[in-house]
Symmetry: C2
Subunit: 218 residues, 2 copies
Amino acid sequence: MKIDPRPDLSLYLVTDRGSSRGRAAADIVREAVAGGVTCVQLRDKHSPTRELIAEARRLMALLRPAGIPLIINDRLDVALAVQADGVHLGQQDMDIADARLLAGPAMIIGISVESLADAVRAEHQGADYLGISPVFATPTKTDTAAPLGLEGVARIRRAVALPLVGIGGIKADNAAAVIAAGADGVAVVSAIVAADCPRTAAAELKGRIAQAREGRMI
Amino acid sequence: MKIDPRPDLSLYLVTDRGSSRGRAAADIVREAVAGGVTCVQLRDKHSPTRELIAEARRLMALLRPAGIPLIINDRLDVALAVQADGVHLGQQDMDIADARLLAGPAMIIGISVESLADAVRAEHQGADYLGISPVFATPTKTDTAAPLGLEGVARIRRAVALPLVGIGGIKADNAAAVIAAGADGVAVVSAIVAADCPRTAAAELKGRIAQAREGRMI
């Protein structure tokens, strides 16, 4: 199935080996997709390149037939090698101009931003979507800025037109508020990868997001 | 100056931040080039991508005008972003077939091998040169196989036609023996980057290599 050029980012799973309780990424992703995840990011800052590529290929084999995009964190070499749908770049990763030149116009380029100024700049530089973080305090990443809060999400929403994905401390009980504040989607790590049942966790998040989106449309 | 398609690998410097005694890579490389280094590999397994790219661009600005190739360790994304001359891949990095597809025919692809079997396979797969390691025991890398020794260098020399660069524990007093055993060049890390004067250290190595090459031609 061809990936939509404007992918559904509403429930965006970010993998994390350290939170996975020893379970393989492919197994978690398979369950999470069955539960309704709409987009997957492979994030692994530690594995050797060859292992990363093998992991990315396993995920591509699961996701491509389901029409769900795979985005690779940081490593454009890996994204290009496996023909992933996109790359997600932090402020310490390759800059957008370099990445666009190598990735071509079709690859999705997502950018992590932690402030309104970052967001405006990334939109201007040609990002395809923004990961805005941290929305809430989070234990997964320890090197982050102060939480944006819902007001921060709303402020960025008013300033940029790009799709926005909130990340950081988002769970079933606060996901709807993030969407209501203006995000197009929520990204989660531990709320799915550390869950007893990733499928159930994804389905619950999906339901909350769908309700919030309907609420916003009224 | 255009980089020769068959670069001079005779004195091949591999950078290493940890052994550099706090000195900037660009400062060490500038001195090492003045001393006679013929090829430079940027090796940095820890810095964020953006910092790696900035460092690679600083080295390119030094090396390109001197006609000396810059090879990037592992990270083909970085090599492509800065239009480096090549990429050097270990057995845990991207495999040659993937790398060649992304890098194109002109980029130099060097492969690290630790055995005769690795060497024959890498030649078959289309490597442009081989880094054979460790020739001697080395403190710089702790995850290496048993030393090949001079006999191991000679054995690989008889089996493959590719340019061979010995690495691992090579210093001024044993460099000539590595060339005499059949290597086209020697790669060094701490013998230059940790030296009091990288320029003098490079010049001394260069002299020993030149003598050994003359000796081999008699």
